[in-house]
Symmetry: C2
Subunit: 321 residues, 2 copies
């Protein structure tokens, strides 16, 4: 059986986007439901999802484990797995880790771009690694079954998380920095260690993570995957598109600034280009998975490897959670 999985989307959801994912044949999508939200605010987000599930029950349903990916495949629907891009929802409370798991969370980043209570984000000057509280939380995430996601974390913190976690971790959405040296992309050494530890990388289609940004070509992207597969086991590579469809620019401003600053931060953008960047024309939404499939085969990946990258590798990873 072959599964298609996009392991990171943060869209301003509506029926049309669920249809795109359905048309793309996605059996599962990991969706971000929290950045800066605390626990109470998370509960409000989940209420919104209750409504989305009710209104679009012919297209989506809440995913809890790998069996829901199988179920989605047989029912031609998409299983939606919740995740957070920051640890704000657990506040300073270890007991909330189990609670967020009960609410459906299966991935949690230890940090967004800044320092969190758990670890250091990739936009800080100095990275002190996983904190005292972070060590406790990793243990608890392992116990209850929430995957440690280090996509936005700084390097030492990520090495620490790989070492401390008893289960493989994920970088759900990032690219190798050898291809495009963005702060959010990852070093060869880190990717090697991630792969050796059984961890998985979801390659990102977010233009700021791409060589030549919105003008990145499919060929260049697939060449990058081929080179990444020389550093990492090909079985440890998947897709985490970071699609942010239908989002107004006010949202990316909020993602970057939350409530932590009185001055404005532009993150991966700039004062002249503060908004969401335009997707490359071969991946404007999840239906671009078919272009990826062609591109991967063209660059020389086998049928089996291609299917792995497009979803089976994530499916196997979900089995280990």
């Amino acid at each position: 059986m072959n599964y298609k999985i996009d392991n990171l989307q943060y869209c301003n959801w509506n029926r049309e986007i669920f249809k795109f994912n359905n048309q793309a044949g996605l059996d599962a999508v990991h969706v971000t439901i929290a950045y800066h939200e605390d626990y109470d605010e998370l509960l409000l987000e989940i209420k919104k999802w209750d409504k989305l599930f009710l209104e679009n029950s012919d297209l989506i349903f809440p995913g809890k484990d790998f069996k829901d990916i199988e179920k989605a495949h047989s029912e031609k629907k998409t299983a939606i797995f919740f995740g957070f891009q920051n640890c704000s929802p657990i506040e300073d409370n270890i007991n909330l880790v189990e609670k967020i798991h009960t609410l459906g969370c299966r991935f949690m980043q230890l940090t967004y771009n800044n320092q969190s209570l758990l670890a250091t984000g990739c936009y800080e000057k100095i990275d002190s690694g996983v904190t005292n509280f972070g060590r406790e939380v990793i243990k608890e995430m392992n116990r209850v079954g929430v995957v440690i996601d280090m996509s936005h974390s700084a390097e030492k913190s990520t090495f620490d998380a790989i070492e401390i976690s008893e289960k493989p971790i994920a970088i759900t959405h990032a690219n190798p920095s050898f291809w495009h040296p963005a702060k959010r992309n990852k070093s060869n050494e880190l990717l090697k260690t991630l792969s050796q530890s059984g961890g998985i990388l979801g390659l990102s289609l977010y233009p700021h993570h791409l060589k030549n940004n919105s003008s990145c070509t499919l060929e260049s992207f697939c060449e990058m995957i081929a080179k990444t597969a020389e550093l990492m086991e090909v079985d440890n590579i998947g897709i985490g598109s970071d699609l942010c469809l239908n989002q107004p620019d006010s949202v990316v401003e909020w993602m970057r600034n939350g409530t932590w600053s009185k001055s404005k931060n532009y993150g991966e953008g700039s004062k002249n280009k503060p908004g969401f960047p335009k997707q490359p024309n071969w991946f404007e939404d999840a239906r671009g998975f078919s272009n990826l499939e062609n591109g991967l085969k063209k660059i020389g990946f086998s049928e089996n490897e291609t299917n792995g990258i497009l979803g089976n590798n994530w499916y196997n990873f979900y089995k280990t959670i």
Copy 2:
């Protein structure tokens, strides 16, 4: 005019303790009203204080600035200044800094023992210094008039705070580590830099910060002050007793563990001595200020220097806030 100030107490407050402070002649006390509380929980704490102020209006009133120290002196009452030993009440929100100032907060530690969103605590393995959010918060604390308190912070974070802050900072309750090498005590280099920057140290009477713990002698404590005055300007030395009168041991357990750990941490205590330690017999409550006065004079401090250490130095510091 001479003022007596204890710039850190965290008691389980009742009328008797306010009387002790009054009998000690304290014109002002900086009291801790938050450790792990978030903003909503802080509001509940302040409601408790509203009741205490109402019921003990003959002994205490809320202090807002140095003029309230003068008022307290002339009315033979004690002005109560609020402070936090962690930044939890501002959550991840820069706008709450002004709000906590409006609510009466005049001192806020950037960290308790662990990593916070602002800086690193003295119990972490690695100290990455003041964070991105921390830099913004220091600017805002300077603007609205909340003193940066680094009593429980790690060393690099404290050097960073001194450098970043445009106003002098405080270490409200700690001792020099040359005298007693506790994690919470401070290095010579740090104390020198603190003093050179106009910052102030409140010497602690908490047994875990004292040489020989509860058996520490008045002579030893005063000798330590004399040596500290060789590192720092004597005008930058005060008292921050860290008195925790009437607190049950469950409180020190909560201070150390909050909700961040499933295993038990003993902080400065140990498994065999998990509770609050016994005060030295010459400083069982604030009335011990008279013993300090004698001890300081005996060790050779002038009348003027003694009065400075016992309160005038803090009074002058309050004038700069």
